[in-house]
Each structure stands twice: as C-alpha cells, then as structure tokens.
C-alpha cells in the first residue's frame, strides 16, 4: 500500500511539475531563499504575471 501511495505521490508531483501547478510554491521558495526581506507577489498576481511572460515567446511547436 505504501509503495502504491508513494507511486501515486510521484505521479501527482510529476504531473504538477509538468503542468506548472507548483510554480507558485517554487517561486515562494526562491523568494525566501534569495530575497528574505522582500514581499513576494501573492498567488493571483504571480499567476497573472507568469502568463504574460510565458505567452510572449514561441513555446509550442507544430
């Protein structure tokens, strides 16, 4: 059962990573580690600014 649970957790984390579901958590971790004094963006603002950045370049192929 625990092997199954571990497998499921890995699959879920993998999917979250590939889809970008964990982007905000990773951003927070980065902010805490690198810029301890600064206030990070909140989730909503982060999501909005990420989309703007990501869709200004070619990120999908034929």
């Amino acid at each position: 059962m625990s092997a199954f649970a571990a497998g499921w957790a890995r699959l879920r984390d993998g999917l979250r990573g590939v889809l970008g579901d964990d982007a905000y958590e990773r951003y927070l971790r980065h902010c805490r580690a690198r810029h301890p004094g600064a206030t990070p963006l909140d989730r909503r603002a982060f999501y909005a600014s990420e989309l703007e950045r990501r869709w200004k370049q070619v990120n999908r192929c034929c």
Binding site: G14, G17, D21, Y27, W55, R60, C61
Partner: protein, 685 residues
C-alpha cells in the same frame, strides 16, 4: 570484466540484435500484412541504441558536457523562467512543447508511399539528425545564458543571418497555421458531431480560464482535470447533437463558413487576454496530448494490429494522389517534424535551457524528447497503415483528384490496385458516426479512423464513433492552441517589425497596434486557409510541402548556427555531427524547391500549375464552378512559387554566411570571439 559490466554489455547487445531483427523483419517482409509490434520493437530498440551510444558519445566527446558547470538556471535563477528543475520535469515540459500535430499529420500523408520509407526515415532521421539537432541547440543555448535561436543567429551569422532567421520563423508560422487550420476545417466540414465537439472546447477553455484566474488562482492540476472531464463530456454531447435533427442542422457547416469561423477565432483569441482562452486551452491540450500518446502506445501493444499497407506503393514514382513528388526529396519534406523539425530549435533555445539544472541533463531532455516525438510519429504511421489501403486513399484523396461521387472515387482508387467499394466506405462512415468520409484530406480524419480502430478494438466494445470524435477533438484542441498561440507570437514579431517603421506600432500593449498586427497575421494564414478551402484539389497538396520545406529550412538555419559555433569553439573535428545533417537538409530543401519552381508538370511545379490552369481557363475547358475560382488559384500558385524562391534564397544566404564566417575564423583573417559564458562552478548538490 566485472559481472555488472558483462550484464550491461550483454543486454545492450540483446537490444541491438532485437532492433536489427525487427528492422530486417520490416524491410524484408513481403506478404499480405505485417504485425505492428515489429515497428514498435524496431523503433524502441533504435532509440535506445541511438540514445545510449550516439548521444552518449556526443555528450562526452563532442559537447563535453560538464556536471560541475553551473547552468543559466542556477546562475540566473529568478524563480520564474530561470529555475533549476528536475530533469524528468524538464523532459515533460520540453516534450509537451515540441509535440504537436506535425508528427501526426506528416506520417499519415507519407503513408501514400507505403509503410517502409516513412518508418526508415522516421527512425534513421531522428537518431542521426533530429535528436542531434535538438540536443545540440539546447547545448549551445545552455552554454550561452539560454539565448534564443534568433539571438544566437545574430551572434554567429551577423545581422543578415538573424533577419533571415526571423523572416523564416514568421513564414513557417504563417504556413503552419494555415495548414493546421485547413486540417481542422476539413475534419469539421459537414460533420455536426465534430463541429459541435470542437466548438464546445472554446467555452470549456474559458470556464477553466476563469477558474484559474478567479476561483482558485494558479491551481492548474485541478482546473485541468475539471476541463478534461468537460472535454470528454463534449465528445458525448456532440453525439447527442448529431442525433437531434434540428440542432444538428446548426452545426452542419460547409468548409468556407468554418474557415471564416476559424480565422475569426484566431483573431479574437490573439487579442483577448491570455488567461481567458489561450493559457487554459494549452493546459488542456498538454494533458490530453500526454494521455493520448501513452494510451495509444498501450493500445497498439495490446491489440497488435496488422499493417495492411504494402511496404512500397507505386506512388514512389511521384504520381501520388495525396501530394505529388517522388520519394526523394518529398518523403523527407512530408515527414518533416517526426524525423527532424526546425521548430524545435525555437523551444530548445530560449525556453528549455533556462530550466536545465545540470548540464548533463541536456542529453536526456534534448535527445530523449525528440526520440519520443519520433515514436509518436511512428504510432501515427501505424494508425494510417492499419487501415485498408483503399480506405486510406478514399479518405485522404481530394474530390478534385478522384471525382466527387462515391462510385467514381472508389472505382479510381480500386484501379490503382487498392480495392475499396462504396458499401464499405458507407459502413465505415456509419460506424464512425459520420455522413461521409470521402475526400477528408489533411490526415486528421484518417488518423482518427485509425485511432478509433485501434482504441475501439483494444479496449473492447467498439464505440468507434466515440473514439473517432475523441481523436478529432484531441487533434483539434492542440491545433487550435497552435493557431491562437502562433497568432499571438506572430503578432509580437510583426509589432517588432512595424515598430521600426512607425514607433507607436511597436508598443506591444497599445490597442490599435495589437489589432493591426493581429489582423495582419490572421490575414496571412487566413488567406492560405481560404485558398485551400476553395481549391478542389484539397489545398493540403500545396500547403503541406510548403510547410515541410519551411520547417526543414528552419532546421537548416539552426544546424548552420550550431556548426558555426562548433567551428569557432574548438570543435572543428566534430563539426560533421551537425554538418552532415545540415548538408542533407540543404540538399533536400534545395532539390524540393527547385522542383516546385521549375518543374513543367502542373502537378508538381507551382508556375507550371498556374500556366496550365490559365490555359484551361482561356480555352474555356473548365466547368463553371472551377472557372469561378480559377483566377484566385492561379494567383495563389504564382505566389507559392515566389515564396519558394524566397525560401531558397534564405537557405543559401545562411549557408554562404556560415561558410564565410567559418573560413574567416579558421584562416585567422577575422577570428571570432568566444560567445560561451565563462565557467562557474555549480553550488547545487
């Protein structure tokens, strides 16, 4: 030798022998049919051997990948685009970005030559050229702060090379969007079920977008799961629409109306904020894409279908009904993305390198993702080849080639040696929930029939109609993603260009500029789409070769940049690694382009086709419906001819530029500076 080493050597020998045996089985098999599992074994073994040995050698000797060297993701970490990421996640990201409709459509069309040529080039081309290109571009960009291809081209080839790369990118995007839009339109024409399902994906994407923005910001996984469930529901709902006599009529649209709809959609999606439509649609398409690839591989292994297409057909002589042109060079032009795709260089530079945590990950991400993409192409080829060849040709050949009524069409195809009859086609269409499958050019419907056949048989219970429309929805979802994302990126490139003519037009968020630039991009691909729709020969036969040539040209640009970097960074000994694929691509694109420009055969040459049609029009030999569109088709053939000339010019400019730069460097006349970022030791553990 230790036991471990011995076991490893033995298992790699086994993989190599199994691959060689499967390859031999496919190549030498001469019978009624051959099991698709042979293809899977040959493919997997080829990729494994290529990955283990060739990419390993490239990584160690050619690139000299260094795990102690800090990558841009580490050095420039900003918690956003630059961020060290686990290599399997980067692999997933990169694969989702490079996998598109190209490797599904190209092999489907190329199946007109038989199964053998396509299989051979998909495997050999991927292992020796496509995977190598992706890996080397990713490597060069990673060593240069994750710079984009255009930036690398400017550094290596100078301003002219960079301008050529930019024009080439815009051109390939316009043609790509036109041909993909045409594929969707051909699949939806007079098919209420497909049309209703594809239309439903738009509100579903908007619901997901609102959820992600307003309800639960950034919770991509849960939003995607909701969206995917709704999409599956939309496939079933399409079936209900189809069975309802009144509602059915609303969605029973002809190709022209659908073309206008798709153009309007592209414009609106490019102008709307990304969070509303574009981004959520992309999340859905990524999820579905990964799922379907996985499912298809399992289904092929369970079902082990027989491939009915012969190894080679008579059309290798260039008289093919789906597209004209002989095996060389048009097999390579048509397969394009599944073996080597220039578009990948745009993702492998600029986006992916900013995530690479360790330089040694370049091998798995660059080489590995392309091997998987090529495997997707092999599965698409299998899906096309498990159909009865007669059925395959009946679906993929335009009415202008075989005639528009079932009796004539099936009789013509039977006369080619691929027996098919109207009753068989009617039964097939009925089982797929369609009124007709004749002349559904573009590859998507025949792929969907093949997938429905594989899924429906492997997972029991038939349900062919549901699987067919699921496959159409699957293809449409990411084709529409390419349309809106492509229009948007094209808009930025256009605004950049317009900005140099008139400064305010370069402001990316100024509304008049946004509208004008988006309108120009939509008009660009919309024009080719519209011509493709009114062309009785189906349009695909013109647009796909044009797309293939542009794609291979972009690959040539990328490889020229890599070759130039190799020569200037002390890797002259290994310059043949990108150099040989480069020479091959230049040969293929040049031959194809020259044939398309100078051939006297109206089925092949653009100018010859224009002259032929003009003569027929002048002599009054055309039926009234064809005469009405003839002037537009004549103009279009001439335009395509001139565009091909421009492509040729771009390719040779780049080649000459590269050669001159390398010569100047090697002869010591003008040694190029090292463009690599300096070595910094990694701190990652």
């Amino acid at each position: 030798m230790s036991t471990g080493k011995l076991i490893r050597a033995a298992s790699w020998t086994a993989v190599a022998v199994a691959g060689a045996a499967a390859f031999g089985g496919i190549a030498l098999h001469r019978g009624e049919s051959i099991n698709a599992l042979w293809f899977v074994v040959a493919a997997v073994c080829t990729y494994l051997v290529g990955y283990r040995f060739y990419s390993g050698w490239i990584a160690a000797r050619v690139c000299r990948l260094d795990a102690t060297r800090a990558t841009p993701a580490e050095r420039l970490d900003n918690g956003r685009d630059f961020m060290p990421t686990h290599r399997s996640i980067v692999f997933g990201h990169h694969f989702a970005a490079i996998a598109g409709a190209g490797p599904l459509i190209g092999p489907t069309l190329a199946a007109q030559f038989g199964y053998l040529p396509g299989t051979l080039w998909l495997l050999v081309g991927a292992v020796l050229a496509g995977c190598v290109q992706d890996m080397l571009v990713l490597f060069c960009s990673t060593r240069r702060d994750g710079r984009s291809l255009a930036h690398l081209a400017r550094d290596e080839l100078g301003r002219f090379g960079a301008a050529a790369a930019m024009v080439g990118t815009l051109f390939i995007m316009i043609i790509l969007m036109a041909v993909l839009a045409l594929v969707v339109v051909k699949a939806m024409a007079h098919s209420p079920w497909s049309t209703a399902t594809v239309f439903a994906t738009i509100p579903i994407a908007i619901v997901v977008g609102i959820y992600l923005r307003v309800v639960r910001p950034g919770r991509v996984l849960e939003a995607t799961i909701i969206g995917v469930v709704l999409l599956l529901g939309s496939v079933a709902a399409g079936g209900w629409v189809d069975s309802h006599p009144e509602i059915r009529a609303w969605f029973d649209l002809d190709a022209k109306a659908l073309a206008w709809f798709v153009i309007l959609y592209g414009f609106v999606a490019a102008v709307l904020p990304v969070w509303l439509l574009l981004a959520p649609r992309d999340y859905l398409s990524t999820f579905i894409k990964l799922g379907v690839v996985f499912l298809l591989a399992i289904a092929i292994c369970i079902l082990q279908p027989d491939v009915r297409m012969p190894a080679l057909t008579r059309f290798i002589d260039g008289t093919g009904p789906i597209f004209s042109g002989s095996l060389f060079p048009f097999l390579f032009i048509t397969l394009a993305c599944g073996a080597i795709s220039g578009f990948h260089a745009l993702v492998a530079s600029g986006t992916t390198p900013k995530l690479i945590a360790r330089e040694t990950d370049v091998r798995m991400v660059g080489y590995g993702s392309m091997a998987l993409e090529s495997f997707v192409a092999i599965m698409a080829l299998i899906a096309a080849c498990v159909l009865d060849p007669g059925v395959y040709f009946a679906i993929n050949t335009a009415a202008g080639v075989v005639g528009s009524d079932p009796v004539t069409a099936t009789a013509t195809i039977t006369s080619w040696g691929f027996p098919v009859d109207p009753a068989q086609m009617e039964a097939l269409a009925a089982s797929m929930g369609e009124a007709t499958l004749y002349g559904r050019t573009g590859g998507a419907p025949s792929l969907a029939v093949g997938m429905a056949h594989i899924f429906g048989s492997a997972f029991g219970d038939g349900l062919f109609a549901i699987w067919y429309h699921f496959a159409i929805m699957f293809e449409a979802v990411f084709i529409l993603t390419v349309l809106d994302a492509g229009t948007r990126v094209g808009r930025f490139i256009m605004q950049d260009a317009l900005g140099s003519l008139c400064a305010p037009l370069g402001r990316t968020s100024w509304y008049p500029s946004v509208w004008i630039a988006s309108l120009l991009v939509c008009a660009g691909w919309g024009y080719f789409l519209y011509i493709g729709v009114i062309d009785p020969n189906g349009g695909i036969n013109i647009l796909w070769p044009l797309f293939g040539m542009a794609n291979q040209m972009l690959a040539a640009i990328a490889l020229a940049v890599v070759t130039s970097i190799f020569v200037k960074s002390g890797r002259l000994r290994y310059a043949w690694v990108p150099g040989v694929p480069l020479a091959w691509l230049v040969t293929v694109t040049t031959t194809a382009a020259l044939q398309k420009v100078f051939s006297d055969d109206p089925r092949m040459g653009f100018f010859a086709a224009a002259r032929d049609l003009a003569d027929k029009l002048a002599a009054g030999m055309l039926p009234p419906d064809r005469a009405a569109v003839a002037p537009q088709l004549i103009f279009n053939q001439q335009l395509d001819g001139w565009l091909t000339v421009a492509l040729l010019f771009i390719v040779w400019t780049i080649v000459i530029d590269t050669g001159r730069g390398c010569w100047n460097h090697l002869s010591g006349r003008r040694p190029a500076p090292d463009t690599e970022s300096p070595y910094v030791a990694t701190q990652l553990t």
